[in-house]
Symmetry: C2
Subunit: 260 residues, 2 copies
């Protein structure tokens, strides 16, 4: 289940997120050191393995030692989230037009989510958060500024793009996770699934003719990287085509608004 922001002291949360004075880095621990360690744990072993004990252990301390610096696990997750968001690139040239820049951003963001897949498990859709979330928004808005879109449409576009990338990255992350955790290759896993599937739903093609048809053809290899496994290839393809559809939609909105 998603991890929610601490309901506790909103002021303290905010001060931590925005690094207001008070979090001095003494000889011992510090918020930053703890957040770093937590991110390492989550990157390596996944969100499920992220426990206060695990983070403490990685720092040679007890779990309780962390509570001097961080009010709760939920707040720690918030800090981790905002922390890694800072890794997103912040500059995209708009010389080639917003479409090129936005596409580049989407690709980078997808890559980011795959580097830190646990981010996808942090409660989606949290409104006000830390500085790096705003930095991300600001980057998107800079890219989209040349479109001249009004703020209402702009908000819709930003939301759609972010959610799309998040979702698409989720599919890929899931494919990777399945491959890793079962120790099978993509193809093996998929094949073993299909076997059970036919046994349990022999009338599949009749019940869901369109779905069956859609699932038939094999996706072509990813251009430039033939090593991408089956399921992931599929997901990447969906990402690419879905993104173009989305960009077309933005373009239509821009055309309607008379910008360019």
């Amino acid at each position: 289940m998603a991890v929610y922001a601490g309901q506790g002291d909103a002021r303290r949360s905010m001060r931590l997120l925005w690094r207001a004075p008070g979090g001095a880095a003494g000889p011992g621990l510090s918020v930053d050191v703890i957040v770093d360690a937590a991110v390492e744990v989550a990157d390596r072993d996944g969100m499920a393995a992220l426990s206060m004990r695990a983070v403490g252990e990685r720092l040679g301390r007890s779990a309780m030692a962390l509570y001097t610096y961080v009010p709760s696990k939920a707040e720690l997750v918030d800090l981790m989230y905002d922390r890694v968001l800072g890794e997103l690139p912040s500059e995209y040239p708009v010389d080639d037009g917003w479409r090129v820049a936005l596409r580049a951003w989407a690709v980078d963001a997808r890559e980011f989510f795959l580097t830190h897949p646990w981010v996808l498990q942090v409660s989606q859709a949290r409104p006000v958060l830390g500085p790096n979330e705003f930095a991300m928004l600001e980057v998107l808005l800079r890219i989209l500024r040349p479109t001249g879109l009004g703020s209402s449409v702009l908000r819709g576009v930003v939301g759609a793009v972010v959610q799309f990338v998040r979702g698409a990255a989720g599919v890929i992350a899931e494919a990777r996770r399945a491959a890793r955790e079962t120790g099978m290759t993509d193809e093996e896993w998929w094949f073993s699934r299909s076997e059970v599937f036919e046994e349990v739903a022999p009338d599949f093609a009749e019940r869901f003719p369109l779905s069956a048809e859609l699932g038939e053809e094999e996706p072509p290899p990813v251009e430039g990287d033939e090593s991408v496994p089956y399921l992931e290839r599929d997901a990447v393809l969906n990402f690419v085509t879905g993104l173009e559809v989305l960009l077309d939609g933005v373009e239509a909105a821009v055309a309607r608004a008379g910008g360019g």
Copy 2:
């Protein structure tokens, strides 16, 4: 964090999902009764409160009693997920064109996610699952069939639409959750947040000028329902405009493919 599918016996999971013979409903419990109870718990108290003990209690049984019918909590969540997906409408008239139908679907799906917000916390992007997930896909494909789009683009479109609705619903769910858990109204909560915000990030407008500008204006009331609170109104508006952008994108793809 998201709940993952059981890694255990794939055959057993599938048989349960597709209700293969064997799950007779005797005088005592049954898979269906358990799944119902679990959905009720999750609907009322949220995913975090969903424990085997809680479900057992609601049925007047112990937690362990459930394990006769359901191999693990992860499988139970899978069953819950597929169960509620069955609540989605299955028929959309295409007489007025695919755009109208797709928009109606998106609205219904958003409503669905808000009725069962915990669904948003079930591991997104799990590939093969139960019958109702395919039913949902089938509905979307039926709606989109008149476009004549090829299967590659079709997959991208379906993914983009589903992810968009999911994400947009997540924002609204989050707004509602914040309001409920803090006991404040939307406006109060937002106002109290802003106060801390200005204190902690006084240079916000300089650091993030475009974001600041975007956040300035107040959203107009939702047409036909003036009671929708502030934050949610914002989210609904973003949903509506984002959806149109997305639909424009699909339309562009259709036009390019020469269909209609």
